[in-house]
């Protein structure tokens, strides 16, 4: 027989043990555990399969890109396709990992456009989203937490056990604390089994989780625990506001819908309406407009200048190589100037966009953080490395790679790099032409994604974690104050 025995201890622990036992032996536990365990295992299984598939695709794309370079004889014709490799944790906490463009064709200079978001290639997934651990915690376990807590007080009153507990000299704070702790244990302790099995599944499937990834996952689970504690405390408070369990059920379910489903989306819609952001398309259009304008002018200048170099009485005398070098130098100067101006425009527009985005995000997140579900989503994404910072990090690493590629091309091509203009090549018929040597793609610098450190992610998620810690305390305090006036009969 399962017993309440153990170390005895304060009343709240006795209530918590009884609550845990009551939950574990109840039929509703069997149902909630079966559903939760299945979904958690499914999340790990889908995640492992998804990761391995993405890894194969990623390696195939890299190999194909390298194959394409075979036979190329000029490093300036090389613009490698680089992509964000799949990360194990993004399969458990998707965040924005499926929404952002993960590939980019990088040239030695110029704008880098990322493409190839997973949702763009799989619109069905974009519509229905994926089943990941974050979803299971936020929606499914969140709902079960509400269902476990909604009758914590009024249910005991309706059953008649509340009177008996308090006739025995129990303190109200101990009762509430014990109920919340017991329910939290009843909800989460059994989930350690499917989570442990899921972790084992990851290992067996060969998903390369580094120690840091496990640490990140543990922190995500901790955030999930705080989120569930929040919903349990909230529903316990609701149960102390009313006398009938049916009313509490309706209120708790409404609160769940409002906080989990409505508030985060409403916050984003409101923020987008109140604080619009310049789109990337608009920036691209503005860039294209300026580019067309510059090109029109540069063409005329180019014609005059090239005629001056190549025409009669031109500089460089009759040495065609020297003349071509002069033309290419001019082209390079024009390209650089063009890129400088385009870059300036783009930087200025991007800065404006960034400022607008910051304002919009601040507003959206500020409003959304009323909802514990939003706090959990934001914290989990930060900790798993799939927050909005992922896109910024990818752009930063792509920019660094572009610099590296540009330097490499300049070293290989006599001070030139690909992108942003044209080049002229002159062929001098002076007998048997020397066949150009193909490049060796292995020499090309590889794009190596550096997983961001955990500390900045922890720092960014600290606010949400603090809120997730504060919410249960606030709701517990509210429940305690309400319960002081509760008619126990």
């Amino acid at each position: 027989m399962a017993t309440l025995s153990g170390r005895g201890g304060p009343s709240w622990r006795i209530v918590a043990r009884r609550e845990l036992l009551d939950i574990v032996v109840s039929p509703k536990f069997a149902w909630t555990f079966a559903v939760s365990a299945t979904l958690i295992l499914l999340a790990f299984w889908v995640g492992a399969r998804g990761f391995l598939l993405e890894q194969r695709r990623h390696e195939a794309a890299r190999a194909a890109d390298l194959r394409q370079m075979r036979g190329v004889t000029d490093w300036l014709e090389v613009s490698p396709l680089v992509s964000l490799p799949p990360q194990p944790l993004e399969t458990l906490v998707a965040g924005v990992a499926n929404d952002i463009g993960r590939n980019a064709t990088v040239e030695g200079r110029g704008a880098i456009a990322t493409t190839g978001s997973r949702y763009a290639s799989e619109p069905v997934a974009a519509l229905l989203r994926v089943l990941d651990l974050e979803f299971v915690f936020r929606v499914v376990l969140g709902l079960f937490a509400v269902l476990l807590g909604y009758d914590a007080v009024c249910g005991e009153r309706a059953r008649g056990t509340l009177r008996l507990c308090f006739a025995g000299g129990l303190e109200r704070a101990s009762f509430l604390g014990g109920k919340i702790v017991g329910a939290l244990a009843g909800l989460t302790l059994p989930l350690l089994v499917p989570i442990g099995l899921g972790a084992l599944l990851f290992r067996l499937a060969g998903v390369p989780m580094a120690a840091l990834d496990w640490a990140r996952l543990a922190l995500v689970l901790l955030a999930g625990l705080l989120y569930l504690a929040t919903l349990l405390a909230l529903s316990t408070w609701i149960s102390a506001l009313v006398r009938q369990p049916a009313h509490a059920f309706f209120l708790a379910l409404s609160a769940w819908v409002l906080l989990v489903l409505v508030t985060p989306r409403a916050a984003v819609s409101l923020a987008a309406h109140r604080s619009p952001v310049l789109s990337r398309d608009a920036i691209a259009a503005e860039r294209a407009r300026l580019q067309t304008e510059i090109w029109a002018r540069d063409r005329a200048t180019f014609r005059d200048r090239v005629e001056g170099i190549l025409g009669p009485g031109s500089i460089g005398g009759h040495d065609p190589q020297q003349r071509m070098a002069e033309v290419n130098r001019f082209i390079e100067e024009q390209s650089s100037e063009r890129e400088r101006r385009l870059g300036e425009l783009e930087r200025s527009l991007l800065e404006r966009r960034e400022a607008q985005q910051k304002t919009q995000r601040r507003l959206a997140f500020g409003l959304a953080r009323v909802s514990p579900a939003a706090c959990f989503t934001l914290a989990a994404a930060e900790l798993a490395g799939t927050s909005l910072a992922l896109e910024d990090e990818l752009r930063a690493q792509l920019a660094r790679y572009q610099e590296e590629l540009g330097r490499f091309q300049m070293a290989k091509s006599g001070g030139r790099r690909s992108g942003g203009g044209m080049r002229l090549r002159i062929a001098i018929d002076d007998g048997e032409p020397e066949a150009p040597k193909p490049i060796d793609p292995a020499e090309l610098p590889a794009f190596r994604w550096q997983s961001p450190n955990l500390l900045p992610a922890l720092s960014r998620s600290a606010g949400d974690l603090a809120l997730l810690l504060a919410f249960p305390l606030v709701f517990y305090a509210a429940a305690f104050v309400t319960f002081q006036r509760y008619d126990l009969r």
């Binding site: 006795i14 056990t161 308090f166 025995g168 303190e171 126990l488």
Partner: protein, 265 residues
């Protein structure tokens, strides 16, 4: 508190609800160790409210309830440590077994009974061993009532309060409950029970008080009731307490107030 001091004592206890209803009106009585006190009264007479005042489930408007000399209103936790309670409908935790239920409430009361003590308490109230590990939701009302009594026994409190303990029980279950109460009384416990059951009150109680419209309108000892028809007295007092008084004195003098102690000739 001396050994003869009452273990349960109401002193001019009153409760007026926010809607103006005076549910308990200056009720005074005392239950000594080794005594069963039965509060008789109809629905809405104030019996349950009086019990709830003793258990600190509601606060009195005036007056006080004392358990073992400790004011319930001033020191509720200390006072309630001295009393055990059995509700009209004992609704323990249905998903837990009888053993788990009694263990939980014993632990809440600060005890750590052994498995043997738990089983002994359940046996004492007449629950067979096979029932000890059954879930409470499979129990009949009588069995739940017995489990509730086992909870009360395990608490080991000197005072016991029962709200309509025989309500809805079959005659055998009611007889068994009565036998248990007498046994507990003989151990020196003070027992306060509210009931509609005139027969059981006369059979078990050492004193009977009649409540009507929030007031304790009459009170008799067992000796006084020997030659009386309690049912007739009850009906007379409940239907027309003023007319039936005949002669209402100030009681035993210790709790005059408005509570009348009626000596029946």
């Amino acid at each position: 508190m001396t050994p003869t001091s009452p273990l349960l004592e109401a002193v001019a206890l009153s409760k007026r609800y926010e809607d103006g209803l005076l549910a308990v009106d200056a009720v005074s009585f005392a239950v000594a160790p080794g005594e069963i006190y039965a509060m008789l009264g109809g629905n809405g007479a104030g019996k349950s409210t009086t019990i709830h005042l003793f258990l600190d489930l509601i606060r009195p408007t005036s007056g006080s309830a004392r358990i073992a000399g400790v004011s319930v209103q001033e020191e509720p936790l200390r006072a309630k440590a001295e009393v055990a309670y059995v509700a009209e409908n004992v609704e323990l935790y249905g998903e837990l077994t009888a053993l788990q239920n009694v263990e939980f409430f014993a632990r809440l009361a600060g005890h750590r009974p052994s498995a043997g003590e738990l089983a002994a308490a359940l046996r004492r109230v007449g629950l067979e061993d096979e029932a000890h590990r059954r879930r409470l939701k499979t129990f009949s009302k009588g069995m739940r009532q017995k489990t509730g009594l086992a909870v009360a026994i395990l608490k080991g409190a000197p005072a016991l309060i029962l709200d309509e303990p025989t309500s809805g029980l079959d005659p055998r279950a009611a007889w068994e409950l009565g036998r248990l109460l007498v046994g507990l009384r003989d151990e020196g416990r003070a027992i306060l029970m509210s009931t509609h059951d005139v027969f059981r009150a006369k059979q078990l109680a050492d004193r009977v008080g009649i409540m009507s419209r929030g007031r304790l309108v009459a009170e008799w000892t067992r000796a006084e009731l020997l030659a009386q028809d309690l049912e007739e007295l009850y009906l007379r007092w409940v239907e027309a307490p003023g007319a039936a008084t005949g002669e209402a004195s100030g009681g035993d003098g210790s709790s005059a107030g408005e509570t009348a102690r009626t000596e029946v000739a």
